[in-house]
Each structure stands twice: as C-alpha cells, then as structure tokens.
C-alpha cells in the first residue's frame, strides 16, 4: 500500500499501461508539451515520445473520432478530453460511432478506447464548465461508464478500462484530483460493472458515485456519533449498473437516499430509485429520496454555486428526514 493522490494514481496507472503495452497511446489537447491541463500526463511525452503521447489541435470530434479508427486497427488509445463539457463536441463520434461499431457491424471489430474526462462543478467555472453529464453516456448501450471515487479504484478501474475491448468513458472529477488514499502496490485490475460497499451500515443506505461518495462517507461518519449506522454504496460503474448490490443493501437497511452531482430530473438517482422500487419495494420503509443539483445553469457567484450543488449539509438533512419519517430513534 502506498498513500497517493487520485492524480498520482491516474498518472502512475497510465504510465504502467504504456510500459506494459505498446498499443496504448495517449491523445488529447495539451497532454504533451503542456503536460496536461491537470498534469495527469506529466513527464509522459519525455518518456514515451510524440508517437505515443499525441498533442492534438482543439478538435474534439476529430481526435476522438480518430481514436475510434485507431482502436479499430488495433491500438488502444486513451483520449483525454479537458472537461466532460467538451465531450459534447465529440458526442457523435462517442455515441454514434464508438458505441455502435462493434455491434452494428456484427462484432467484426472492437473499439478498445478510453475517454478520460473530469466532470463536476464547485470551482466557480460557471455554467458551461461545471456540468455532470455522465448520465448522457450511461444511457447508451455499447459504452461502459466508470466513475471511481478514490485513488485505489482510479488505479484498478483505469487499468481495467484500458485493457477492455469496448469504449469506456472514464469519469474523473476536478475536486477529486488532490484527494488522497491508500493504493495497493503492483498490478490491480478492477472489475467494471461492480459497485462497492464503501462503508457498511444497517440503518440507511446512501448511494453515490465519484466525488459524491466522499461526501456520503463524511456524513456517514457524523451519523455514527449519533448512533446511526449509514451504509454507503459507491456505484463505481454507471454502465453497466450494479443494481443487485444497491438493492441488497436497501433490503437490509430499508431506507435509501441517492446523492448525485448531476441534475435531478432524469438523473442517475432517478434510475437508482426506479431500481430500488422494483428490486426492494416491499422492504422499503420510506420513499427513496434524491439529493441532487439544483436545476439551473450553474452560476458563477460563490453563494449561488454553493446553494445549487449538493453538500454534506444537504445530505445530512435528507438522511435525517428519512430517519424521522420512519420513526427511527436516535
């Protein structure tokens, strides 16, 4: 075990996979000479050269689609898109091409590529640079979407994503890059499509992913001092979705709250709530609640940005309300 930041875990994993397999190539804006907007690719150009670490022009559709074609011919491109917001410029290539080519052509060619991109708000970057649009991609068969919340999972799931033969959207988060955690040494290959019980509990389940999982864990620790045992399910994979782990937890605790950074309507929480009503309805003691972003283009001004994004306080309040509604005695 080594303690390191989420950023370091990503960097070290990319490097290890580059060393392991010559077919792995990186491409994206400013990943080479500039060493990456968030320095995930620091030192890579020097070590691997410009055939393996490819600086691209500002042309998301062009270079993401080029990665699709590179993958079709046997390379394993890892694309960095500077933020999730900019993936919208490449969405035709991701959704209509990357996600379709294996199935639509009868399995004749796979598209082993990874798109790494950070989502998330809270940095005063205003409306166009603060979105959580992962559910757009999680909606699409043919794609896999993972959203690790900690450095160890970042390592294991990035390794799995690079070795996977399907296109994987690997969701990062601006506010996770500097978070630290223990990371197992040596090769770690995670399993896409599996949620984790990030913290065991017996009274209520909080379901979340990516940055929100850290908030959920923080709130769970607070409730422990009040004698409330909160179980935290970290989805880790948004497509496929591990419905069984979610429902098994809720069947045990009988109460569920979803914490998500995306907008509520049609969001990840909507899918989780529907899953719970189908998979744990008769064990549920209260309606599933969702703590999600306010439905506005995110404002720049700090007080408004704070108000619009889900916080630990918001989750604490909603967990308390669900406990009270079910006459849970603290």
């Amino acid at each position: 075990m080594t303690e390191m930041t989420y950023r370091q875990a990503l960097h070290d994993t990319l490097r290890a996979e580059m060393l392991r397999d010559d077919a792995v190539v990186l491409l994206g804006e400013e990943i080479g000479i500039f060493e990456g907007s968030y320095k995930i690719t620091a030192g890579m150009l020097t070590e691997f050269g410009d055939q393996r670490v490819i600086d691209t022009p500002i042309a998301e559709e062009g270079f993401t689609g080029a990665a699709v074609g590179m993958a079709m011919l046997g390379l394993r491109p890892v694309v960095e898109i500077m933020t999730l917001n900019f993936t919208l410029l490449a969405i035709d290539q991701i959704v209509n091409h990357g996600a379709k080519i294996f199935g639509m052509f009868g399995g004749q060619t796979s598209v082993p590529m990874v798109i790494r991109t950070p989502g998330g708000g809270g940095q005063q970057l205003a409306a166009t640079h603060s979105q959580n649009l992962e559910v757009w991609y999680a909606h699409v068969p043919g794609l896999k979407v993972v959203a690790p919340s900690n450095p160890a999972d970042a390592k294991a799931l990035l390794t799995a994503s690079i070795r996977d033969d399907d296109p994987v959207l690997f969701l990062e988060n601006l506010s996770l890059y500097n978070t630290k955690g223990e990371v197992p040494d040596g090769e770690q290959v995670g399993e896409i499509g599996r949620a984790a019980i990030a913290r065991e509990g017996s009274d209520i389940t909080v379901i979340s992913y990516s940055r929100a999982t850290l908030i959920a864990l923080e709130v769970a620790r607070q409730f422990e001092s009040e004698g409330v045992s909160v179980e935290v399910v970290d989805l880790r994979s948004l497509r496929p979705l591990d419905r069984e782990t979610v429902c098994a937890s809720v069947r045990k605790t009988t109460r569920a709250v979803v914490l998500e950074d995306d907008w509520l309507t049609y969001g990840v929480g909507a899918e989780i709530a529907a899953t719970i009503q189908e998979g744990a309805f008769d064990r549920l003691d209260a309606p599933v609640r969702r703590v999600a972003a306010a439905e506005v283009p995110l404002p720049y001004a700090k007080p408004l940005e704070n108000a619009a994004l889900p916080t630990a306080q918001d989750l604490t309040k909603v967990v308390g309300e669900v406990l009270d509604a079910t006459r849970f005695t603290r």
Binding site: P57, G65, H97, G103, G106, D166, G193, P240
Partner: protein
C-alpha cells in the same frame, strides 16, 4: 492543385485513351459496372416488395466512379464509405449474396443482419464500414490512417486508407477537423468526395460557398483534384496517383469525382426537385451505356459480349436474391451477443416486457 477542365464539351473532362488499356481490364470494368447496376435495380425492386427495410441508397449512376476507385485500391488498403455503399462492397469483392442478405436483414449478411443497407462491413476485405451518419466515417478513417503509421515506413508497398464522402459532407465540422489532422499528422489517406451534385435535394451551389469542392483541400495544403466520375479509367488514375502520394510520402489528398445520381436520394425519394429537363439530361449522361459504347467503339467488346456480361450480372443478382431469401433471420436469443466485445458484470439482457429483476425471491422481497 490541378483540375482537369479541358476537353469533352459536355462534362469538361478529357477522356483517357482506352486503347492504352488492356482490353481484359476494360472488359472487367464493364462487368463490374453491370453487376452493380443490376444489383441496385434489383435492390430497388426488393425494397418496393418490402424485402428490404429502413433506408436504401443506391449507386445508380455512380458505377463508373465506384469501379474506378475500387480498381485503384489495393487489397492491403482500408476503405471507409458513406451509406451509399452497395456498389463499393461488390467491387471490393464481397459476395453479392452476402450483401443482398444484409439488405434483407439476414444472419448471413455481411454484418450478420445487424447493420442493414447503410452499414456494410467486411473485416477481411478491409472494408471498414458504410456509415449512416453523414461524415461519421471521416474521423475514424483518419484515425485508421494514423494507426497505419505505427506499422511501417512509407513506401510503394505501404498500406493506405481511402475515405469516401458525399458532396454535402464537405460542410460538416468533422470533415475540416479530419483534413487538418491528416495534414498535420502526415497521414496515408485519400479523401474522395463523390460529388453527385445533390445532398438529398440541395445542390452543391446552394450548400457550399466554394462549390469546387476539391479546392477545400487548399486550407490544409492538401493536393486536390477533380475528375470525371463517369469514366472509370480517369477515376482510377487519379485515385492511384493520390494513393501513391499517401503510401510513399504520407501526403493526404482530396479527390473529387463528378457524377450524377440517376434516381432520388434513396429508394423512396421521387426527386421532384429535379426538372423534367434535368432528369432527362441525367439519363442521357448515364455512364453505363456511355462506357459500353466507348468499349464497342474501341473494339474491346462487341454487342454480344456486352449482352453476355449483362446476362451474367442478372444471373448473379438473381442468385444473390435467392440466397438472401432462403437465409435464416437472426435469432432473438442472439440479440445481446454483440452488446460488448469484453463481457462485463451486470450487463442488461432484458427484453422490453421483462422486469429488471427477473427472479422474485419472497424471502428477500425482490431481486436475486
């Protein structure tokens, strides 16, 4: 930047001298053109008989272009096409029966019946897809050319990519982004604009500020050339020169072939946007009878030879229809077989009316 603008009064192109070509080659071009013509006419008929669903775009009128381009492309090269792809599949050597079976949505189709008319694919033939989204093939084709640069050095035997697109496609962003990438990355690729003068019902002049589309390569310092798409030899020569540049210099090119669509955009389009005179003019320019006459004039074929090739094509297409008709439908049990290339936990295999959790367990109240 060279444009062949002199010569033949009608199209403005000087036709190459057919006497310089081996007669067997020319005869084979005519054979392929008649096969594509017969196939497309029969596809049209099969669509009307509801054997073919969805969209169905035909290469009628573009046979010379198709055969010229595919003659220039070597087996080792890769092809990305538009959704108007039947002729290219045939000329690339895909079995007519397997192509027709794909149109019929049968499991014996080139894409196992999962793609249909717009999405013909054959990994072995290095035909890496017809693409239904306008211009969707351009970035992947560009990336495929990038991948080739990892395989070996430039040279006469190097592999290259040919990426086809329509005239309307030159206005999308992906076209420009891709040409720019190909130029700065020095990729072995030839982009071919198959200009049939109409994007659905919109003329090139109404859609494109620079209607001489091959000139759009100038922005990327890319050689551009316009050729007579009604002449397979002229098309082949231009394509071959561009492919040679791609192989030996990794210099991408933009080729523009000029032809006409004989019919509407797709099978269901009556092309009412064309005047009666324009429709007649297009019919008069039909490259098939024109090439036939030239071959007879040049002494390559006589009328009987031509008829024999036409009958042979009819026979092949009849067999293709028969094969497609008798082929089995894909099985519903195989619906999820190609959802993912790498198996993954918790992948959905649910049909519309099935529950998310198929097995109810009374003791735990639902999922298992």
């Amino acid at each position: 930047m060279a444009s062949r603008t002199k010569g033949k009064a009608d199209s403005g192109f000087a036709p190459p001298d057919l006497r310089a070509e081996p007669p067997a080659t020319l005869r084979d071009y005519y054979r392929q053109m008649t096969l594509i013509r017969a196939f497309e006419l029969r596809a049209n008929e099969m669509y009307r008989r509801a054997k073919i669903g969805g969209y169905c775009h035909l290469n009628l009128g573009e046979e010379a272009t198709v055969v010229g381009l595919m003659s220039a492309l070597e087996k080792r090269d890769y092809l990305f096409t538009t959704y108007r792809d039947h002729g290219y599949a045939l000329a690339r050597g895909l079995a007519p029966g397997a192509v027709m079976a794909e149109l019929f949505g049968k499991s014996t189709g080139v894409s196992k019946g999962l793609g249909g008319s717009m999405h013909l694919f054959d990994a072995k033939a290095r035909m890496l897809g017809g693409y239904g989204i306008v211009g969707g093939q351009i970035p992947p084709a560009t990336g495929a050319a990038k991948a080739l640069t990892y395989r070996g050095d430039p040279g006469p035997d190097a592999e290259a990519v040919m990426c086809l697109l329509g005239d309307g496609t030159t206005n999308i962003g992906a076209f420009h982004e891709s040409l720019n990438l190909a130029a700065i990355w020095h990729l072995p690729i030839v982009y071919v604009i198959v200009n049939n003068r109409l994007g659905m019902g919109t003329t090139v002049e109404r859609a494109s500020a620079e209607p001489e589309l091959f000139k759009r390569g100038c922005s990327y310092r890319m050689p551009g050339e316009r050729v007579d798409g009604d002449d397979p030899v002229a098309v082949r020569e231009a394509a071959r020169a561009a492919l040679t540049r791609a192989r030996t210099e990794r210099q991408p090119s933009l080729l523009e072939t000029m032809s006409y669509r004989l019919k509407g955009h797709s099978v269901v389009d009556p092309a009412t946007y064309r005047s009666r005179e324009e429709s007649q003019r297009v019919r008069d320019l039909d490259p098939l009878p024109a090439f036939r006459s030239r071959l007879i004039e040049a002494g390559v074929l006589d009328d009987d030879d031509a008829k024999a090739l036409e009958e042979e094509a009819e026979q092949q297409v009849a067999e293709a229809v028969d094969f497609a008709d008798k082929s089995p439908d894909p099985q519903v049990k195989d619906l999820f077989n190609y959802a993912y290339a790498t198996d993954v936990a918790n992948a959905s295999r649910r049909l519309p009316a099935e529950p998310v959790f198929p097995v109810a367990d009374d003791s735990t109240g639902g999922a298992s």
